[in-house]
């Protein structure tokens, strides 16, 4: 048992990869996930850096005993939930339909038994 796929499909995958449609799919995916990853990572890094080096700011009390540090920490939860929700919406609207379309095109190519 191997994880190899028949090498006859290799040319077709290359053709699909170089198609304009697939380029658009790649762009839709990467233009979302890479900047978003950078954003949440920097936002998290800012939180860790402030915890290490901005103790005065973090200890500022806002309401009662609730200080900036706690609110900043809770905002990390909020941003994580929001990014997850936003990504699922983006993926369902932009990524999934195009991915499915390309998938179906490859499948119908398979049925004909010829290269695309």
């Amino acid at each position: 048992m191997t994880t190899e796929v028949p090498s006859t499909s290799a040319e077709r995958y290359v053709a699909v990869q170089q198609s304009e449609e697939f380029g658009r799919l790649r762009h839709i995916v990467r233009s979302f996930v890479f900047p978003m990853t950078a954003a949440f990572f920097l936002w998290y890094a800012l939180y860790v850096l402030l915890s290490a080096y901005a103790r005065g700011f973090m200890s500022t009390k806002l309401v009662g005993n609730i200080n900036v540090a706690l609110v900043f920490g809770l905002l990390q939860f909020v941003s994580t939930f929001l990014i997850a929700w936003y990504y699922s919406r983006y993926a369902a609207r932009k990524i999934d339909p195009l991915a499915e379309q390309i998938y179906n095109e490859i499948e119908s190519g398979d049925k004909k038994g010829t290269d695309a």
């Binding site: 994880t3 796929v5 799919l25 998290y44 200080n67």
Partner: protein, 557 residues
């Protein structure tokens, strides 16, 4: 004497009996499920991936079950109870980490892999060297994690069952009970994996996640009700009881500690950054988490399961805030450290205090303590089962089937080897844990995350997104990240040269940080890049196939 300590002694026998009964009920139910699952397990896909038939919610719960270890439940609650705000850093890092899995890993892994992490890493590389490397790092990460959990279980049993130094339980003193617990936990995890495979293990995770969420929710509601749902009042009381005042609610009591020595302060802050980066980047490289994405039918359901997991895990970590600060306020640091210096019993002690106040005195306290203690054991058991499954899958599918048999092993053979591997890995983990039980191995969880982030994550991300990446790059990043992370920890103050070290009487340390991530994670990425560019190998056709399959799901198993 502290009131709750006294109560602990009075109600020990009631609570102990109930803890054991509840735990046996959990074991009976999960063993029943395991035997049922074994009848449904016929193919390799059933054994490795639970037949790929779980729903998004089921797998989301199971991910929560695999992820929320005793380190999260007991460890974070204890850290917050003793050091206040700093414990919260763990909760945040462990949660934000899921965005890496959601955005960059889960769907693509599901689309292009089959059973293990190495399926994706070796997709366009030379199979044998890359699968060997992936198998090595899978086993290293899993064994570190396993030992930490099993030693933790041994340390907890005497505390949770209230076995004192001079008393015995079923004729066992505290030390014998520790060893017996490690063997029992190890034996049960072997049975879950060998008999139930991924299907059985997944249901065990789901049951455990449900129990843990319910237990934590009840305690959180009781704590908040005690303060009439006024968070500020809870925090104020916790700060006052801790004796540290406002500092208890601010960063700096445990990590990034500011002291008179400028260099000690500098290293302490670097260590905080180092821990922070390993927490957020480690999750998406943990083999037992990665294999969970294969248990669902499609990449879209894999995405859904991560969304569920983020909701479940995020809610749980919000509970830990109430549990930790609640324990600080209602139990008190003194009473907690009297039971366990590391604070691991803060959550069970809080359960007892809440039970006494709200569920009818002593008996109520004993009942809630017993429930939470049983939840803690269920938590440990489920996590170690997940780890054993991931490492035995890698041994069978990567090392045996693809390295030794060069891809010519039959499905039956592969599953047989996976079961034998689970037995062997389980036995090795039991033996190592018994050997390590007197040593301080709490750092092993953080080390497992650091290795996952330094060795596995660079290789996974390069594989999925970098066309030029090749066999040499994969091996350099895996072995490079692994060696740097483990090497730095070996020469750090957590292994030697400090009173809390694994070997406190020796000193060979020269690396000043306890957490290697700040150096080892960039080192892993750098090594992967260097290895790639110095090798001429590059397979553009295979990358085309990987890219098309990972983004469209074509040819997915």
């Amino acid at each position: 004497m502290e009131p709750h300590l006294l109560a602990a002694e009075v109600s020990t026998s009631t609570s102990r009996g109930l803890t054991i009964t509840l735990f046996l009920v959990f074991v009976a139910i999960t063993l029943g499920i395991t035997i049922w699952a074994s009848r449904q397990t016929k193919t390799a896909t059933d054994f490795y991936a639970g037949g790929r038939q779980f729903s998004g919610f089921q797998n989301g719960m199971a991910i929560g079950g695999d992820y929320m270890s005793a380190a999260s439940f007991l460890g974070i609650a204890g850290l917050i109870a003793l050091y206040g705000y700093d414990g919260f850093l763990y909760s945040i890092g462990f949660l934000v980490a899921w965005l890496v899995a959601l955005l960059l890993v889960a769907e693509y892994l599901r689309n292009s892999g089959r059973y293990t992490m190495a399926d994706v890493l070796a997709f366009r590389m030379r199979q044998r060297p890359v699968r060997t490397a992936a198998s090595v790092s899978t086993i290293v990460v899993s064994i570190f994690y396993l030992i930490a959990q099993m030693v933790g279980a041994g340390a907890l049993v005497s505390l949770l069952l209230g076995i004192k130094a001079d008393t015995t339980f079923l004729g066992m003193d505290a030390d014998t009970a520790k060893v017996a617990t490690i063997i029992l936990v190890g034996a049960l995890m072997i049975v879950y994996v060998v008999v139930g495979g991924m299907k059985g293990t997944t249901y065990v995770q789901i049951v455990k996640a449900f129990m843990l969420m319910t237990g934590a929710l009840i305690m959180t509601l009781l704590v908040l009700a005690h303060y009439k749902f006024n968070l500020s009042e809870l925090l104020g009381d916790a700060a006052q009881q801790s004796g540290k005042g406002d500092a208890f609610l601010e960063p700096g009591l445990r990590y990034g500690v500011e002291s008179a020595s400028a260099s000690a302060t500098f290293y302490s802050k670097m260590d905080l950054l180092s821990l922070g980066i390993a927490l957020v980047l480690g999750t998406a490289g943990l083999p037992h988490i990665l294999t969970r994405f294969y248990t669902v039918p499609t990449s879209r359901i894999a995405r859904k399961s991560v969304l569920w997991a983020i909701g479940i895990i995020g809610t749980f970590y919000l509970f830990t805030l109430a549990l930790g600060f609640g324990a600080a306020a209602l139990v008190g640091g003194q009473a907690i450290t009297a039971q366990d210096k590391a604070g691991n019993t803060a959550a069970p002690q809080l359960a007892q205090a809440l039970g006494i106040d709200y569920l009818g005195g002593e008996t109520g306290g004993a009942i809630l303590l017993a429930v939470i203690a049983a939840v803690a054991f269920a938590t440990i058991l489920a996590v170690v089962a997940g780890l054993t499954l991931a490492s035995s899958s890698s041994v069978a599918h990567d090392f045996y089937a693809n390295v030794i048999r060069r891809g010519n092993a039959s499905e039956r053979d592969e599953v047989r080897v996976a079961r034998i591997s689970a037995l062997v890995i389980g036995a090795v983990a039991i033996a190592l844990s018994i050997f390590a039980q007197s040593l301080n191995v709490a750092f092993l969880v953080a080390l497992a995350f650091a290795v996952a982030a330094s060795a596995n994550l660079p290789a996974i991300l390069y594989s999925l997104f970098w066309k030029r990446f090749n066999t040499a790059g994969a091996m350099w990043s895996i072995y490079g990240g692994l060696i740097v992370a483990v090497g730095l920890v070996f020469f750090s103050p957590v292994v030697s040269g400090s009173p809390t070290a694994m070997f406190p009487d020796n000193d060979w340390h020269f690396f000043p940080l306890s957490n290697p991530g700040l150096i080892s994670i960039p080192a892993g990425f750098l090594a992967g890049w260097i290895g790639t560019v110095i090798s001429k190998e590059s397979d553009a056709d295979k990358y085309a196939e990987l890219e098309v399959r990972s983004l469209t799901g074509h040819g997915a198993h």
